[in-house]
């Protein structure tokens, strides 16, 4: 068995007296789509924040792709191939759709102390950007202003930006949040097509989507992982049923 692409040990985050993340040990295998579920307030966003580097852990370690990234800044982790999307759509609204993705490609194309050549006409940036847009089905919208996109399209753009840097791993924070059933189905299809090709950690509320897509599921309750395993295993785990699925049924 090879080493997991991402694994954490004894990860702790406290806000004052409140423990948001409690001794989390999580392992995401290469090539897996690993889903992270849990009721509201279970600490999913905090965990994503710790993994991406926006928050500093109070204790514990995070290893990614052979590196100890526990103390690395957000941008350093991104450069190592840990890309994320945001729960609240986070795009550059004054840019065109293409320019948004060009910027994402640029982040991984060496330094940006280049002052002369227009970035959106640089084939080295536009090529990969168009490929990423094509992947999410937004290529024909590339010249539109990002602000003019529908909610569903913005979620797609968000994903294209995460894909653009050819990351080793995607942290997707509720990619289907606020989507209608049709857009949601399209996103499930898209994630299905990415599965196996990229390692993905997916935080999602839509249980049908999670059980359809995931290779592994971890259940977070009160900041702690109470169960981790295959969808079938999680479905039948009595602890999970009591703590989580029972509430929804």
């Amino acid at each position: 068995m090879t080493e997991p692409l991402l694994h954490t040990s004894g990860l702790v985050k406290r806000y004052g007296g409140v423990i948001a993340t409690h001794q989390v040990a999580l392992a995401v295998e290469r090539g897996h789509l690993h889903a992270l579920i849990g009721p509201n307030g279970a600490g999913k966003s905090t965990l994503i924040g710790l993994l991406s580097g926006e928050m500093a852990a109070d204790a514990g370690h995070i290893h990614f792709n052979g590196h100890d990234v526990t103390r690395l800044h957000v941008h350093r982790r991104a450069r190592l191939g840990l890309a994320r999307s945001f729960q609240i759509t986070s795009i550059f609204k004054s840019f065109s759709v293409l320019a948004n993705v060009v910027l994402a490609v640029q982040a991984h194309a060496g330094h940006s102390f280049r002052f002369w050549r227009p970035a959106v006409r640089d084939p080295a940036l536009v090529g990969p950007a168009l490929a990423a847009l094509d992947r999410v089905g937004l290529a024909d919208r590339r010249h539109h202003a990002a602000a003019a996109l529908s909610h569903g399209e913005r979620r797609q753009l968000e994903l294209a930006m995460a894909l653009a840097g050819d990351p080793a791993m995607l942290l997707l924070d509720e990619p289907m949040a606020g989507m209608g059933p049709e857009d949601g189905r399209a996103m499930v299809d898209l994630l299905q097509s990415l599965k196996g090709e990229r390692t993905i950690l997916l935080v999602e509320h839509d249980m049908d989507a999670v059980f359809q897509l995931a290779d592994r599921i971890s259940v977070l309750v009160y900041g702690a992982v109470i169960a981790s395993g295959t969808p079938d295993h999680i479905r039948t785990d009595p602890e999970v049923r009591r703590a989580y699925l029972g509430e929804e049924a």
């Binding site: 941008h75 350093r76 991104a78 910027l103 994402a104 640029q106 227009p118 970035a119 959106v120």
Partner: protein, 328 residues
């Protein structure tokens, strides 16, 4: 895609350039040659406003201390000239100089170094805190300049000569005007080009959403600092020109009111467009000058006028001239 607005934009730019070139002969023909000097000062403030737009409009860093760089540039010219007249040596065995090719780059260097120091600290904060810290640094330099007893304290330094630039007679208002125009147009053209380069993309990305930029993998701090230093250098050049235009360098150049004026010019003209702040500088200074001719209570008229302009042209004068356009 958007060829019509593009055409309109270039047409407007060409017309503005022709107008700017025509200013000295037209003023001379009207027997108002005195105003050529004023017109040069307008261009210099436009250059300073342009430098502010680089950090504020492109990078989203609202600096309330840019007058400090203007003042530093002016003081480098002033001190250089003072030592030529006085003959006293400067520290490190340097002598005074009035050579523009030495003094102006030095003005840019000094302002750039100050921007490096101020930026390195200020850019650890954002928003209102950034505004306050840049203001505080500018105030420090303002009082420091006032304390330079050798160089006239609060009264400042009077230049005995304008800078000397290979064969050009800078004391001639028309020559000086065209020199200022040439520098302004060059800097504007370079910055317009820069704004769509990779570096420009990073700055605009930071303005829109810095958190997202970091998540994409950009170390945003160093790009912001580089922009701040570049901006300080351009503003320092404007300061060097300003000292020549008024043949005077004093702490008043660094006052917070001056920083505020630069902010008004940028917002009035259209933040982030680079061309807009140039227009904003022209509009504000021409308004001030002509209203001051009408009445000594000109500020009572200027205030409401600015409010009206801000309300009717939300994207500034340039946004109003060039019409709608698409995203970059």
């Amino acid at each position: 895609m958007a060829h019509a607005p593009d055409f309109r934009r270039w047409l407007a730019l060409a017309l503005l350039l022709i107008l700017a070139v025509a200013v000295p002969p037209v003023l001379a023909a009207l027997g108002q040659g005195f105003y050529i000097g004023f017109a040069a000062r307008v261009l210099i403030m436009a250059l300073a406003a342009l430098s502010l737009d680089l950090v504020m409009g492109l990078g989203g860093m609202i600096s309330f201390g840019h007058a400090a760089f203007l003042g530093l540039g002016a003081y480098v010219v002033g001190i250089g000239s003072w030592h030529v007249f006085d003959g006293a040596p400067l520290p490190f065995g340097l002598a005074g100089s009035e050579n523009a090719l030495i003094v102006w780059p030095l003005a840019m260097l000094v302002a750039g170094l100050a921007a490096l120091g101020i930026g390195a600290i200020s850019l650890r904060t954002t928003g209102v805190h950034f505004i306050m810290i840049t203001l505080a640094f500018a105030q420090m330099l303002f009082f420091l300049a006032g304390g330079l007893k050798t160089y006239g304290g609060d009264d400042g330094i009077t230049l005995y000569n304008r800078s000397q630039l290979a064969g050009l007679k800078l004391s001639d208002p028309t020559t000086f005007y065209y020199l200022c125009l040439g520098l302004l147009v060059t800097v504007l053209a370079v910055l317009l080009r820069l704004s769509s380069s990779r570096f420009g993309m990073v700055l605009r990305g930071v303005r829109d959403n810095e958190r997202r930029m970091r998540a994409l993998g950009f170390p945003t701090y160093r790009y912001k600092l580089a922009a701040f230093v570049l901006s300080g250098m351009i503003c320092g050049l404007a300061g060097a020109l300003l000292a020549n235009a008024s043949e005077f360098a004093s702490p008043a150049i660094m006052s917070w009111q001056r920083s505020g004026e630069l902010l008004v010019m940028v917002v009035l003209g259209g933040m982030g467009s680079l061309i807009g702040p140039v227009l904003g500088a022209v509009a504000l200074m021409v308004l001030e000058e002509s209203l001051a001719d009408l009445t000594q209570h000109w500020q009572v008229i200027l205030g409401p006028l600015l409010v009206l302009l801000a309300l009717s042209a939300r994207r500034g004068l340039w946004g109003w001239i060039k019409g709608r356009d698409g995203a970059p």
